[in-house]
Symmetry: C2
Subunit: 346 residues, 2 copies
């Protein structure tokens, strides 16, 4: 394991110059730089991460906290974050906190604060004010995706408004008997998104003077399987059945579609379904949905975090320091083949 000292003596330079040369600093003659690089390559020298971090105070490591890597949305964000971080030469430390709230706080204490992360990206996670305060106190930028964090930069979509649009689409088609599939249970209580989308749904219904029937607002935990099970109950009773379903996620919309097929219900003739998110599978199912781009959001979050980091460094430097800001990410309403006028009007 060659250290920087060996490189220095082989290059005939001092340790200091080698360090500067290899880390691309200025004030190094091109000759010295070349010498240092050659010696480093010949010895296979790679600077020790910890020594370097300890001395410089920088980590080149950003933490990502997600509730559940299994879900499409989160793994897509993860992919996006991972991509831009890797390109920037940063490490990604992943905290898959899962549904247990107690794990979350232990993570914050034991890991995040341990001075080993330059920044934290939190997805769909509402941190308590004191937790944010702790992070900000140690000068760690925080960027949140899909959840507003006071004092942190945020990337989000207008969940409530978009949900209203989605439900509105069904209403404009003439549907009056509309069910809503949501997903609270068991999940992190901090996870506000389902409530927001539910609120948007309720707003659309109210705006059209339509009743929200409690038995038609059902919970499916954001999974295809959950929605499939729920769908069998919802659609099984031929007596009075909704003519349209607005699901708070595409996964759940797909679950509903699968259940509908089991009962021989044609989509969209017998049942309209609209989802949300733009899941990879939604196209295959011809699902009308509001597409968001979680991977792009991940990219943006990482970029934002990096910008914040640089801003902190040369705070009085040339380029204007990046500010904490709230960015709304663009979405796209995709009308496909899963929605039509209700059967009665057909």
């Amino acid at each position: 394991m060659a250290g920087i000292k060996e490189v220095a003596s082989r290059a005939g330079l001092s340790v200091a110059t080698v360090s500067r040369a290899l880390s691309g600093k200025s004030n190094v003659s091109s000759r010295s730089r070349r010498l240092a690089q050659e010696a480093a390559k010949e010895l296979g020298f790679v600077p020790s991460y910890h020594a370097s971090s300890l001395a410089s105070g920088r980590n080149r490591n950003i933490g990502l906290v997600v509730p559940n890597v299994q879900r499409w949305y989160f793994s897509s964000v993860l992919e996006g974050v991972s991509e831009t971080l890797l390109d920037a030469g940063y490490d990604l430390t992943l905290y898959n906190v899962g549904e247990q709230p107690e794990r979350r706080s232990s993570i914050l204490n034991d890991f995040l604060l341990r001075k080993r992360l330059d920044a934290v990206i939190a997805v769909a996670l509402v941190l308590r004010e004191d937790e944010i305060g702790q992070l900000l106190a140690v000068h760690r930028p925080i960027v949140g995706i899909g959840g507003v964090l006071r004092g942190a930069s945020t990337i989000r979509i207008d969940d409530e408004g978009l949900a209203r649009d989605a439900a509105g689409h069904l209403i404009r088609l003439g549907h009056t008997r509309i069910a809503h599939v949501t997903g609270d249970a068991g999940l992190n209580r901090d996870f506000k998104l389902p409530k927001l989308r539910q609120k948007g749904f309720a707003a659309a219904m109210a705006g059209a003077g339509l009743p929200v029937r409690d038995e038609w607002v059902v919970n499916a935990d954001f999974t295809i399987q959950g929605a499939y099970a729920v769908g069998r109950r919802l659609l099984g009773t031929a007596a009075e059945r909704p003519t349209a379903v607005f699901a708070a996620s595409d996964e759940m919309a797909i679950g509903i579609m699968l259940a509908a097929r089991d009962f021989g219900l044609q989509i969209p003739q017998d049942l309209s379904v609209v989802g949300m998110d733009g899941h990879d599978l939604s196209e295959t199912f011809g699902l009308t949905t509001i597409k968001q781009d979680p991977r792009g959001q991940g990219n943006l979050a990482a970029t934002t975090a990096l910008a914040l980091l640089n801003a902190g460094k040369d705070s009085d430097g040339g380029k204007p320091a990046a500010q904490v800001q709230d960015q709304e990410y663009p979405t796209e309403f995709l009308i496909r083949t899963s929605t039509a006028v209700p059967p009665a009007l057909n």
Copy 2:
């Protein structure tokens, strides 16, 4: 930012004793330990990760290299690894290498070797011998999942044998016209699994004296969407259509089932489908499959890595050092409702 010195002076102890007390070492009186802990808590002291790693040579950080976090199998492994690592107080550094091979090598050089990881867990990735050599040379245990790595511990299933069993099940039911959905294209060329499963399929067919028809061995990239597209081509021509499909993954099996429904084919009456992996969705679809437990495999991989680490530490210590070994993970053949005797025999 309180350092260990402040803790020491507040506790009225030396820095050395505080360090020992807080890291749970022996040879510390219970009184000193209590004092140190109290002082640390009062000051909100958290040891600096980098300083600690630099001084001790340990990182408490394990790298996980996966091809694609989006795929169910990989995200499940990730979840398992993350879980046991978090419980053990270890960090997880994730390398989502994606399909680009050049990225992989830069990761190895720039990150893995930078002395910042205690061990590496590689999923479905064949490292070159010299790459393994590099890692072993710096005394980093490697554990591989789903790909045999010379000199590394491995957790795997018998892909070829299990594929043979899966295809064999169709054959025993009386099917002779069996298609196979596999997935090579675009993927990391190192990814051997599809070839192994394909080999198992071929072996089963050969064993029964059945021909493998080239046009019935189709590629679907391991996705539902891909298999759906492929399925529409495969099943669309009513002329001569397979009576059964063996898909190399449950996702692809599901894609086939969706395509079959589009053509009004009943499963299993008109078409039998068998998958592999035990995807969360397979139950919902009644899919016959061979279930493996990627999350459990992730748990085991992490445990193995940790054991290897400890073995390295007290190599001549009490408990026998953990050995490099090849572990076959148990699987379960689940016969559900997607398979039956072929239509002709019905």
